[in-house]
Symmetry: C2
Subunit: 95 residues, 2 copies
Amino acid sequence: MQSDPELEQLRGSIDNLDAAIICLLAERFKVTQQVGVLKKERGLAAADPEREVEQIARLRRLAEAANLDPEFAEKWLTFVVSEVVRHHEAIAEAD
Amino acid sequence: MQSDPELEQLRGSIDNLDAAIICLLAERFKVTQQVGVLKKERGLAAADPEREVEQIARLRRLAEAANLDPEFAEKWLTFVVSEVVRHHEAIAEAD
């Protein structure tokens, strides 16, 4: 059993932060779903490499300012964007 | 050029949400760094599979309530936790 009061308190903070992040990710997906519909209407490609380069550069700067490993921020965005592109492709393929 | 006002507005929202998430992830890593130090002091393992099972079940419930794909929430947590465990192992190995 890995249980002691100090560890439990820290884990409570992690759980609260995760709940907040999950809610923000849910909002993010609502917006990217709208982007997916718009891209389908406009006949635009699901992925946009130029936009992704800008996003990565911006998030790395934000991560540095927040004292978060910029490499992790980049890997994180790549992970989220790959999921979004998968959704966009599904929207584009839908009748 | 994939640029039109409606798309730019949606992308502005994505960028704002990403900035908020990056700040919360920075806080999350501060807390997990503390957990890593505590685990080293207590001689506990870097990974805790039982805790991860609970976290995944909880985040899946939160995701469903927020209308986010629970599969994505699980994949997201697995991605973040694997990064944290990597950090914990580095802390445990440090002199």
